[in-house]
Symmetry: C2
Subunit: 225 residues, 2 copies
């Protein structure tokens, strides 16, 4: 665990998000682009080019995953999407269309695809997750837990409580966690190999208050542990 | 001049832009974020941290400049804006507000500011420019031409014809040119020290057709010459 890092609870994380968009005037497309890019860059720092399966949830965490898939493709990775619940919102439809234009296929046989990939990105649930995992994601998480392919979780290991970690015993144990904006409390219980932070868009006053660490050079991600 | 590079005319450049947004479903906020970031990263590759004055025009070229200003600030540069014509469009208002939140001041005394800066970013006119330079930008370009501070032009050296270069004798001679998406024809006449390309969002089929060069690693810019 990195020193001097602040960990946010669920409510505080939601307030930070609201502030970025309402008070600081960011468009969701900007934040998602930079967040998804930072996930892709974190992956490129630790895993060689190969086959990456991105598991996409129905909300903003999934949106970050769609952006990451596109950038990973640009970086030379072979990427595919598992995206069983596709909301009708223009934001997500456009991001999916961009993936399509980049020849990133949507797959349905999760077991086969998970086994044949070199890396899995878990972009299913983010910091808004509450309650228990519902279909079809309960089964999906069962499958991800059952394969040996290393997992990169975006912001929150899916199924984990945002503050208390894996209290429901979902059992996902990611190899890498890419926290976004500021780590959430559950990140304290992450014990995989790589903990990164992404989302280099926090304005200076907010960054000071939230103890956001310094990013090196022009990197959009920084390793925390 | 780099080998195997395609240079676009004004109409072709406009069609590429339309395709990216209508056919490929990109939001202007996404494209501008990645384009502006690539300008900031190109600068960081060649110029040490210092004081950068960004001259912002009234259109999308100016928007790229506003985004670049924010990222340069994150990279440790001291940045200020000269932004004499501020359109009422939400897109630009939000980008300016983000600069404000990042404590990037808007200055009015261009001569003093240009002389006391280590670098000037010319984000005044882009690939839509036609005709002659109108007030207050005619005077602004006179001032920029008259100082010794090196200039980085975004996509098009302002006042140059997009296809034929400095046919009006405006006289801007940038030290760096950051072409966006694909170089425009006037870039053939650029003879400053650094020619970069940014805007790593062109989908593969379009990239092949437009002969977009390969970007290294996770970089959002590539040096052409």
């Amino acid at each position: 665990m990195a020193a001097n890092i602040k960990y946010l609870g669920q409510k505080a994380a939601q307030l930070v998000d609201v502030d970025l968009m309402s008070k600081h005037g960011y468009a969701i497309e900007q934040l998602m682009e930079l967040a998804g890019f930072s996930v892709a860059q974190s992956i490129a720092k630790e895993y060689p080019a190969g086959k990456v399966l991105l598991c996409i949830g129905p909300g903003n965490n999934g949106g970050d995953g769609l952006v990451a898939a596109r950038h990973l493709k640009h970086f030379g990775y072979k990427t595919s999407l598992y995206y069983p619940v596709q909301p009708a919102k223009d934001l997500y439809k456009n991001l999916l269309h961009q993936c399509d234009i980049h020849h990133i296929p949507v797959v349905t046989d999760l077991t086969t695809e998970a086994k044949s990939s070199d890396l899995i990105v878990d972009a299913i649930f983010g910091f808004s997750f509450k309650g228990s995992v519902r279909a079809p994601f309960d089964q999906a998480l069962d499958i991800l837990r059952g394969v040996n392919t290393p997992i990169v979780s975006v912001d929150i290991p899916s199924g984990w409580d945002v503050e208390h970690g894996d209290v429901q015993g979902v059992g996902l144990r990611p190899d890498m966690l890419v926290s976004l904006t500021v780590p959430k409390l559950c990140a304290k219980q992450f014990n995989g190999r790589f903990h990164y932070l992404g989302g280099r868009f926090v304005p200076p006053d907010m960054a000071e208050e939230l103890k956001v660490p310094k990013y090196p050079g022009t990197d959009q991600c920084v390793r925390l542990a």
